[in-house]
Structure formats: C-alpha cells, structure tokens
C-alpha cells in the first residue's frame, strides 16, 4: 500500500478531463492505497455545495481525503459553511509535508 497526493487545479465545469483525475483517485483508493485529493486554484470551485459537488462527496465516502487550498477558497468567497460534505480547508503546506515524506504527487 502506498500514499498518493493528487493535486487538482482545474474544475469540472470548464474541463471534462477532471473526471479522469477524480476516477484515478477513486481507483487508487479502491486498491488499498492512501489517497489525498488536494484542490487548488479553480479546482476548489466544486467544493462549494453545488451540482458539481456530488463526485467529491462520493470520493470522500469512498475514503479519499479531500482538502481544499484555503487561499483558493478565500479568493473565490467559498466559506467553510458552504463547503460540501467531505471537503476540508487546508493550508498549502500540506503539499510540502507530503512531498517531503516521499508521497507520490501528481498535478492535474
């Protein structure tokens, strides 16, 4: 079992391909790996409760840890109260901590 950090910088409203990255997170998790999905830049947009949030909540229920960059959330006026289930706000330092710990990290 390995650990993965998947950084999603794009949103599913503008970019169809985001679904692939969510599916990669799901697939790696289903194989017993520890998976964190870190949303940054426009990647945080579906973290606000909306039609695009269901996939994220589904990933969270499947055991993927979903973090959203606090600066990106603030930049877009997404408050803690409006976050969809399963998404937590986090500082970008999380990425550095995981990189420093040797976690395989992919940016999309």
């Amino acid at each position: 079992m390995a650990s993965y950090l998947l950084i999603e910088s794009r949103d599913p409203f503008e970019v169809n391909d985001v679904a692939y990255f969510y599916d990669l997170a799901s697939g790696l998790k289903s194989r017993g790996n520890e998976v964190t999905l870190f949303l940054v830049q426009n990647g945080v947009l579906p973290a606000r409760q909306c039609s695009g949030s269901a996939q994220l909540s589904g990933l969270s229920e499947a055991g993927v840890r979903i973090l959203a960059d606090d600066l990106s959330l603030g930049e877009r006026g997404i408050t803690a109260e409006s976050l969809t289930n399963g998404v937590e706000s986090a500082a970008i330092d999380v990425v550095i901590n995981q990189l420093a710990n040797g976690v395989k990290t992919l940016w999309h």
């Binding site: 390995a2 391909d17 692939y20 990669l24 697939g27 790696l28 194989r31 790996n33 395989k104 992919l106």
Partner: protein, 127 residues
C-alpha cells in the same frame, strides 16, 4: 534505478513552432541521459500514436519552415530507444481512433492497466 512514468495528456500545444511535442522531447532527452522511463499517452495525446500525422511546414510572408514536426516518428523513435509507450484504450475509442492505425509498438491499456502503471513506477509525472 528508480523508474519514472511520464503521463502525457496535452497534445498539439505549440508543436508546429517547437517542431515537436516538448514533453515527448524531454522524454527523449531524459532517456538519453539514462532515465528508466515509461510513457503513457492519455486524453488527446493518444492521437500522437496515430500513424500518418502530417505537420505542415509553416509559411508567413517569405519565411518558410524548413524542418517541420514529425510527431509519429518521434513516438516511434522513443520506442526504438527502449521506452515502453502505452496509450489508454478508452481515449482512442472516444476519439474514433482505430487500433489498427497505430504506430507499431504502442501498447494499449485499460483503466486497470493505467492504475497498474501508476502503482508500479517509483515516480509518476503528470505533464
């Protein structure tokens, strides 16, 4: 030696003025420098596995490009250097690309095969 999986998904981005795909190019360069490298084409980049891509030589005013890109040859060359080049089956199907028209040596993977590649390489770089 650590193994590296280069996942290439952007395609035809500045390929005419760069005369190649710059991520395919850096894959060549790193292989030449000794990297243990595998390439996975996904998304639009699966089109790089298609035989018969013709990059036109650009011409503006009196200026004419004398060395245009040869994207299919660049993929074939990676394979000839010993780089395993994979491409995602579903992405071919979605784009109406027949598996019979691919560069020889390109291997196809399904979703499980993609996960296998990600798990089985020490480093995974997403370009």
């Amino acid at each position: 030696m650590a193994t590296t999986l280069n996942i290439i998904e952007s395609a035809y981005r500045a390929t005419m003025e760069e005369q190649n795909d710059t991520v395919v190019w850096i894959s060549h360069a790193m292989k030449g420098a000794g990297a243990d490298l595998t390439v996975l084409l996904r998304g639009n980049a699966v089109n790089y596995a298609v035989l018969g891509q013709v990059s036109p030589a650009l011409a503006f005013g009196d200026w004419k490009q004398t060395h245009a890109a040869h994207l299919d040859e660049d993929i074939a060359s990676l394979i000839s250097k010993g780089v395993d080049v994979y491409a995602v089956e579903d992405d071919f199907a979605a784009r109406g690309i027949s598996l019979s028209g691919l560069i020889p040596g390109v291997k196809t993977v399904n979703r499980e095969g993609l996960l296998d590649l990600v798990e089985n390489h020490d480093r995974v770089w997403h370009w």
